[in-house]
């Protein structure tokens, strides 16, 4: 229906244009409209990440630690859902807000029990929410319908919640990466301008490790998305 409407509108302008061949076309008071807004939705994969080990220590006779058992924790890999909203600053730079949700498994391996209990791994799923703001730098493409590489860097917030109720951890995250986008369909001016796909890869570093309070926790993120540019 949208295609028909656009065609009909152009046809109606075509007739008077022919009748006005003796006059130069009026110059548009504005330049060509520049697509400003991009929305993308997609999914991907976040790698698992090791967290710090934490020993359950008792106080020894001289104050030295006496180990009751050891634990080593990690966040399992997950398939996040991502949504992005981009605002084009100029042809090369876009400001992008990204929100994501994933349900990784928090896994803790327990070993070296002082009373000989066998090693065991215990786990629990958590909801991991993140929101960040990035600057995306697009490189020039040779023609309108071509692969466009980009790089991005940003920072944001990450929070882990258990069963939607308990905030287990929150803090800042930093991400840097890049990717490519490819337009599947290009449209004229106004409204929807471009539909395409994009692939992203990034290194995300959470400033404090989830659960163990360890140092920065790195994760590799790969994702794909469908985008719409208005």
């Amino acid at each position: 229906m949208a295609c028909v409407a656009v065609f009909a509108l152009c046809a109606s302008f075509a007739v008077p244009a022919i009748a006005q061949t003796t006059r130069p076309p009026a110059r548009s008071p504005r330049g060509p409209s520049v697509p400003r807004l991009t929305i993308s939705v997609g999914s991907g994969f976040v790698s698992g990440s090791g967290l710090e080990s934490a020993d359950a220590d008792l106080r020894g006779r001289s104050g030295e630690p006496f180990q009751l058992f050891t634990t080593t924790s990690r966040i399992g890999g997950s398939l996040p859902l991502e949504a992005r909203l981009g605002w084009r600053l100029n042809p090369r730079y876009t400001l992008e807000i990204r929100g994501a949700w994933a349900r990784p498994e928090l896994q803790t391996s327990i070993a070296a029990d002082v009373e000989g209990a066998p090693p065991v791994t215990v786990a629990e799923r958590v909801d991991l929410y993140s929101m960040d703001l990035s600057v995306v730098r697009f490189f020039p493409r040779s023609r309108p319908r071509a692969l466009t590489p980009f790089v991005s860097a940003g920072a944001g917030y990450v929070g882990a919640v258990h069963e939607g109720l308990t905030l287990l951890e929150n803090g800042f995250s930093y991400r840097g990466g890049g990717g490519i986008k490819y337009p599947l369909a290009l449209r004229g001016r106004g409204g929807l301008n471009e539909i395409g796909v994009r692939a992203d890869g990034a290194l995300v570093i959470m400033n404090s490790g989830l659960v163990t309070g360890s140092g920065p926790t790195p994760q590799i993120v790969a994702s794909g998305a469908l985008y719409l540019t208005f």
């Binding site: 359950a56 009751l68 163990t212």
Partner: protein
């Protein structure tokens, strides 16, 4: 009001003396929570010195120990030194007195606490502590390898004085000559002292802090901490008296509780919100009489970890967990 004499002790061997009626805080079952309702609690020190400890050093060590409990930020406790006195501990006189007494017959008891309390409400009206002068004591800043540290033992006994029971967060081994030796302790309130020369128990541990905060919560304590609860079972049968320890991987805190309900229920409160490893063990690192005056403690099961991480939510307790243990 009933005068109830409860004797709680720090021992160097195994606990030869009964008993105390307060189970660990947060279990919330069947026992009365002993507590002071009027603050500050006034206490007196017997004006008696022993070799190695003058009466002034005795008072100073006690004040340091009281201050350590006062300084728990999540608890609201106040006490005041009433003065030196010639009154002996363990007299039903309305005065809470701490002092040395010579009890050579208690050859494993370093100190003990008695209470006068309302046996319905648990309200304390008097508590006395004696330190057994049959042992050699020290108040040296760095400890004395041949003597027991007075401040460490006082910190433990004052925990009882305030209403805390014994904690089971600790590991021991049998000594060839009898009794038990501490390998590691997770609480000042563990019933067996670390030994001569050790001053490590001048500092409270997370289990002590959770216990005292649960009993005398400061503003916001309940809202900012959480708990875990559940049941311990072996097959279809409840396990009574299992020791359940929650371990927080972030803070490294170990906080314990006991399954004391008819259905093996346990509850551990005062936890920093977050995920925990739950470890269930038989209560076999000290005489069970050190913890409860019951005879049906079940120790016939293996150390067991709950197969999931358990989350303590902020301001509440998480879902009930059922820990199934296997017999030895």
């Amino acid at each position: 009001m009933t005068r109830v004499l409860l004797l709680v002790a720090v021992v160097i061997g195994f606990a030869a003396v009964p008993v105390q009626g307060y189970s660990h805080f947060g279990t919330g079952v069947s026992t009365v929570r002993l507590h002071w309702t009027t603050m500050p609690v006034r206490w007196f020190a017997t004006d008696r010195s022993v070799p190695g400890v003058s009466s002034a050093q005795f008072r100073s060590a006690l004040e340091s120990a009281f201050n350590t409990w006062h300084e728990v930020p999540t608890a609201s406790i106040q006490s005041v030194f009433g003065g030196m006195t010639s009154v002996e501990p363990f007299q039903d006189d309305g005065l809470s007195v701490l002092g040395f007494q010579d009890h050579p017959e208690m050859d494993r008891v370093l100190g003990a606490t008695t209470f006068v309390f309302d046996d319905e409400s648990g309200e304390l009206t008097e508590a006395d502590i004696f330190f057994n002068s049959s042992f050699e004591w020290s108040t040296a800043v760095g400890g004395d390898a041949t003597r027991f540290d007075l401040e460490s033992v006082a910190l433990h006994e004052i925990g009882h004085f305030l209403g805390l029971g014994h904690s089971a967060v600790g590991e021991t081994e049998m000594r060839p000559e009898g009794g038990r030796r501490v390998l590691g302790s997770g609480a000042v309130m563990f019933p067996i002292a670390l030994g001569r020369g050790s001053i490590a128990d001048r500092v409270l541990q997370p289990d002590d802090i959770a216990g005292i905060s649960d009993l005398y919560p400061a503003n916001g304590f309940g809202e900012h901490t959480g708990g875990v609860h559940g049941r311990v079972r072996r097959g279809d049968a409840p396990v009574f008296g299992a020791h359940v320890v929650a371990f927080n991987m972030r803070t490294r805190a170990l906080v314990g509780g006991f399954s004391l309900g008819d259905q093996g229920e346990f509850q551990i409160l005062g936890l920093t919100p977050g995920p925990y490893v739950l470890r269930v063990e038989p209560l076999d690192d000290a005489d069970p009489d050190s913890f409860f005056d019951v005879e049906s403690i079940d120790i016939n099961f293996q150390v067991t970890y709950y197969p999931r991480l358990v989350v303590a939510p902020s301001g509440g307790v998480g879902d009930e967990v059922i820990v199934t243990v296997r017999p030895k």
